[in-house]
Amino acid sequence: MRMPLLALLAKEPAHGYELKTQLEQVFGEAYPSTNIGQIYVTLQRLERDGLVRSQDVVQATRPNKRVYELTEAGHEALVQWMDRPSEGPRVRDDFFIKLVLSQLAGISDRLGLINRQRRHYLGQMRSLSVLAATSDRQVPRLLIEGAMLHLQADLDWLQRCQEELV
């Protein structure tokens, strides 16, 4: 969670609870739900590493709040992260291992295995279509579209496995 917090702080200084709310607003349900404790621990570590600094702001009617801001080093770390290409998704190795080993183990026929997996992917695609149709916000919509394209690739790959192995 370090880099998302740095990215939000690059926009403007904020306190822990604001960061939690912003993450939820930007990504919706897609982001793993964060508890506030996790956010404070991460902020403390970022401060220890010199990537953010903080100061207490006195509030008249409520307890002081600690506001965090990005340091020069934090900005540098963020830029490096942004500029680095990210790892692609891994192939569905669990299914592939099953497929390769199924005949060896004499447990399942390959065509049955492929058919079940194809049905599973198509069912997932069907659920995603329902979500896509009701999702009007840009970030979740793009995320759903990405998941659909991955599923299409998984299905194409399944077909290749079938052509070669069955």
Partner: protein, 249 residues
Amino acid sequence: MTTGGAGLLLEAKGLAKVFRGDSVPVPAVRGVDLALQAGEFAAIIGPSGSGKSTLLHMLGGLEPPTSGEIWLAGQRVDGLTQARWAVLRRRHIGFVFQFFNLVSNMTVADNVELAALMGGATRKQARDRRAELLAELGLTARSDAAPARLSGGEQQRVALARAMANRPSLLLADEPTGNLDSGASQAVLRLLARAHADGQAILLVTHDARVASAADRVISLFDGIVIDDAVMPPQARPARLPSMLKLRG
């Protein structure tokens, strides 16, 4: 012939097609049994060369089978003449070709209206139907254009509008979203969903898993035979967010 309503609409029994190549016969479809109920929405998927298009062409009367039977609403149709098939397609079957086959010297609007008129609509009904379909597919502004002036994706949607002009009880479509971007594919899917809700049966061939998953039944073809015939679960919003949509952060 009945249109719509419950019951068996289309049935193939032991359907096969062998193309006579230069020297060796090439089997494209090798004995397919298939039954489609009135109002059912089914997709056929499979790799290139698995016989999908050939099967669809036979079911639409565009390609005579080498052997086997085709029954449409209780009538055996595989031995019909081309003229009789043409009548069936005008009245009861909409066919969307992979390569559109639009009438090149007629406008987009006339291509769609002609199909409705040939299906028995009055002039006014044909005009209304054309306007409705072109609007749904985002093509109203192209009504007066010649097909050749349209992009591939636009021509594909006109072909779909034409096939649906006479509200066929059976729509056969070969890759109806093959040339479309994501937005236009969505428009096509919405139109198909509405036609299905109105009781039209749909049988389409597709490479696009998103299109296939919109159908209530997915038939997998491989090497000219059916290897899987899956009824899909009801289309419903998942109770929990699918794990593949969760970011790891």
